[in-house]
């Protein structure tokens, strides 16, 4: 009986030593952990800005009472504008800003433009815009498109329809430009 009690004391003693060792070890060591997640998520989108004060404008535009003389499409990708020209040699300038709405830097390629009537020369600004890089989240501009009625144009009717506004005759041309862009190479 005494021997059994003695053995029990020994067992409890050994267990106590192990337990104490574990507590001491835990108190004298530890672990710091880092858990990270990377989301790869690039989006690419450039739009014509259509918010004041950088909404597109036509310099020297005619007050037609029509707010849609310059219009940005709902998608923000196309700029449509109507120029009112009185005589050959006259030009109008459309001014606009661009915004990169995406999360990746974008590089503009050439505009895809609508048909240009005979008798008009349009400078789409390719020399500046083609290859232009707009950083993600950035707004850039102003840029301009210039429309000129050729001085040597023969038939004004080629420009477009004749309209009279405020007692003045204009030939009216409707034009448009659509953005093209790719992800800029870092």
């Amino acid at each position: 009986m005494a021997t059994r009690r003695k053995n029990l004391y020994i067992v409890f003693g050994v267990l106590a030593v192990f337990l104490l060792s574990a507590i001491v070890y835990a108190a004298l060591t530890g672990l710091l952990t880092f858990n990270g997640t990377a989301l790869l998520n690039a989006s690419l989108r450039v739009e014509f800005v259509n918010d004041p004060p950088t909404t597109p404008t036509i310099e020297g535009g005619v007050d037609t009472g029509n707010d849609e003389e310059v219009e940005v499409s709902a998608s923000g990708q196309t700029l449509s504008f109507t120029v009112y020209l009185e005589e050959p040699g006259e030009s109008k300038e459309v001014t606009f800003h661009l915004e990169n709405m995406g999360t990746a830097d974008a590089e503009l390629t050439n505009f895809s433009s609508g048909p240009v009537p005979d008798g008009l020369t349009v400078d789409w600004g390719d020399d500046i815009l083609d290859g232009l890089v707009i950083d993600a989240g950035a707004t850039d501009g102003p840029y301009s498109i210039t429309v000129e009625w050729d001085i040597d144009a023969i038939d004004p009717a080629d420009i477009g329809a004749l309209e009279t506004r405020n007692g003045t005759d204009y030939y009216v041309a409707a034009l448009s430009a659509t953005l093209n862009y790719i992800q800029a190479t870092p």
């Binding site: 108190a27 004298l28 060591t29 530890g30 672990l31 710091l32 952990t33 880092f34 858990n35 990270g36 997640t37 990377a38 989301l39 790869l40 998520n41 690039a42 989006s43 999360t103 990746a104 830097d105 993600a136 992800q183 870092p186």
Partner: protein, 130 residues
């Protein structure tokens, strides 16, 4: 009477530099685990995560055995962990800022979009000067 444990390290001041919408960083209540989510938008993009380690124990501590689990190379994501092995932190002191760099490899243009997980752990023990 406040009990000061003989050895205790905590993470502190976690931050993602220039944090973007959709990113996050936080510490577990025991301040021993840091979790973060970063957004990589294009090849070459990189995100910087910073933190410090505070020794709230009564003994100096030694950091060692950093064991990272980095993303597979096919993910297009690389992670650079700070050098923490053999760093000694005196009692009641705070470490300099450590930096973790997460990058979308510039060459990984075709890397699939998605979620990439990674982790690391570092052990600390009581420091005994030689």
């Amino acid at each position: 009477m406040v009990f000061t444990p003989p050895l205790n390290l905590e993470l502190t001041n976690p931050a993602v530099k220039a944090i973007r919408p959709g990113e996050s960083i936080d510490l577990d209540p025991d301040r021993k685990t840091m979790g973060f989510t970063v957004l990589l938008v294009e090849p070459g993009d990189q995100r910087v995560i910073t933190f410090q380690i505070r020794n709230t124990g009564s003994n100096p501590a030694l950091l060692q055995n950093l064991s990272p689990k980095n993303p597979d190379s096919s993910s297009g994501v690389s992670v650079q962990w700070p050098t923490m092995n053999n760093v000694v932190l005196d009692a009641a002191s705070t470490s300099p800022e450590f930096t973790v760099l997460v990058m979308w490899e510039p060459s990984a243009i075709g890397a699939p979009e998605g979620v990439v997980n990674f982790s690391a752990a570092i052990q600390y023990t009581q420091y005994s000067p030689p």
